[in-house]
Assembly symmetry: C2
Homo-oligomer: 312 residues x 2
């Protein structure tokens, strides 16, 4: 069962239960308008030893830091400000002491950096393997929320930074090189919190999400939710190494967004003033009903059957 | 690290991070006032195979149902209405199919019963053992929220129903009797959602919590948070079997609350009209600074060193 399969099955099984003000499942976060012009957003991620991380390859502090980062990334990808997290931790006998303390130090360092309080949690013994579940809660003015379903025909498609570093880092780690620059990015990615909040404030930005499963796979979520297609000019994709790694590699946590075409130049220059770099324009939303991107190289269509990254 | 130790260590480590409107840790749920006179409350519980449940002793549906129930119980214990849950599930190869479906059926049945939508979640492969993390979100008018810190000197102490069934059921299960009445209560406890919401609406009710670790242990949380003591008349405690099991047994999920003494008779009779049974008065809040209950039997103090139930 992939995460996407799980989401589909939940939608079906739980469809008849009243939503109590929550918007339906399908975005980076669940959304609850709270009546003062703002909405709260909620996301959760489960990290399992041996599946999502190896204790032999990453320090406890790195794992704690990453567990927080990937959840904050989902909040920022909605254009929301992270306001709190909750943490559940299942610990083996040999991790319940010093390892857990170091994990919490990594978790706290990033919590401090973005001033996100830890407001609840649970701990348990685990008979084999560490398991970490993080919940992140965010808040935004309702008009700032960016949804996957908001892409429009003619929108420009942009990405905030070069893709593929995390996948390259994973290759390094599997080769035993734990401390290369890319390995460190894989072990401890930096979520684009400030960028997400800033883009949330721009009305010309329509759909947004963070790249966790790879561009090829994640872009399809926007296309399906928005009932549109896309043309991607592959030579415009900023790549850390090769194109395939950039398009199919997971866990980059860079923001992908679509926006009104006529406002691209101004937004890119104001973004660059704020953050020191500009998002790259990689393609255009089209009215194609296929909901799959069409890939081009130097103006010519290319055949590509790129699959995103999946853990399970 | 017990849950209580974890909470204490979080308080210390994260004390300097701004709370962003959240009340400090220490109740059944984290509390966030949202500006329209209501507050949202949040709780999370982690259940680990071999620690919290045995697949050989409980059906997948029972485990799914219980995972939801214990979280909804925490929400109701604040006097709040459960409005949503999120579910994270780590599945082994042999549980990813039929077992997971049956688990979801159990989870859905109770979600339907209380009209609580499932708004998010995550799934992962697990290399050994199922792990379940549930988050429950509730909502209440701010003046309805019941906190552990609100007990007052002279308050009556009440409990909603007989204690010890779950502990007796666990004994049955460990003896191989999986289908006794108490075993079924242990495997699939009924949270007192309606009672919690009803008591939330009564201003004469002060402190409230649900009994998950046993009366002896849980009552101390109220006493510490409220800076008071308590006198418990043990002959007044409704027991399923013996007194020790009632006082020390965990996972009853009955509500424990304190209230203005002069309103007890009216509240008990109105409660009984609504629910068909009356909460039992088991003692009185005192001004003792020891923060530990004093136990009495037929008016005479008894020595008791009762420890609550702890998983870890």
């Amino acid at each position: 069962m992939t995460e996407f399969g799980f989401v589909e099955s939940i939608k079906k099984m739980f469809g008849e239960i009243p939503q109590r003000g929550f918007e339906g499942i399908g975005d980076d976060c669940a959304v609850l308008p709270v009546g003062d012009g703002t909405a709260l957003v909620f996301t959760t991620d489960l990290l399992v030893e041996g599946v999502h991380f190896l204790r032999s390859a990453a320090s406890a502090a790195e794992i704690g830091s990453k567990a927080l980062a990937v959840n904050l990334s989902d909040v920022a990808a909605m254009g929301a400000v992270p306001v709190a997290t909750m943490l559940s931790l299942a610990l083996t006998d040999d991790t319940a002491g010093a390892w857990a303390e170091e994990f919490m130090c990594g978790y706290r360092a990033r919590s401090s950096r973005w001033s996100v309080p830890l407001v609840g949690g649970d701990t348990s013994k685990s008979l084999s393997g560490v398991m970490v579940n993080v919940v992140a809660i965010g808040r935004a003015r309702i008009e700032c929320l960016k949804r996957r379903s908001a892409a429009r025909n003619g929108d420009a498609i942009l990405v905030c930074g070069a893709l593929g570093a995390s996948a390259e880092g994973l290759k390094d780690i599997l080769n035993g090189d734990f401390e290369t620059e890319n390995a460190c990015i894989h072990k401890n990615p930096t979520p684009q919190i400030e960028e997400g909040i800033w883009l949330g404030g721009r009305r010309e930005v329509h759909a947004m999400m963070d790249l966790s499963d790879g561009l090829a796979s994640d872009l399809e979520h926007i296309l399906k939710a928005s009932h549109v297609g896309a043309r991607i000019d592959t030579e415009c994709i900023p790549c850390v190494s090769d194109l395939k790694t950039a398009v199919c590699g997971g866990e980059d946590y860079k923001l992908l967004f679509t926006m009104r075409h006529s406002a691209v130049n101004r937004l890119r220059s104001e973004f660059a003033e704020e953050f020191g770099y500009a998002p790259a324009v990689i393609g255009t939303i089209t009215k194609s009903q296929s909901n799959r991107p069409e890939w081009f190289a130097d103006g010519k269509p290319i055949e590509a059957d790129w699959q995103g990254f999946t853990h399970f």
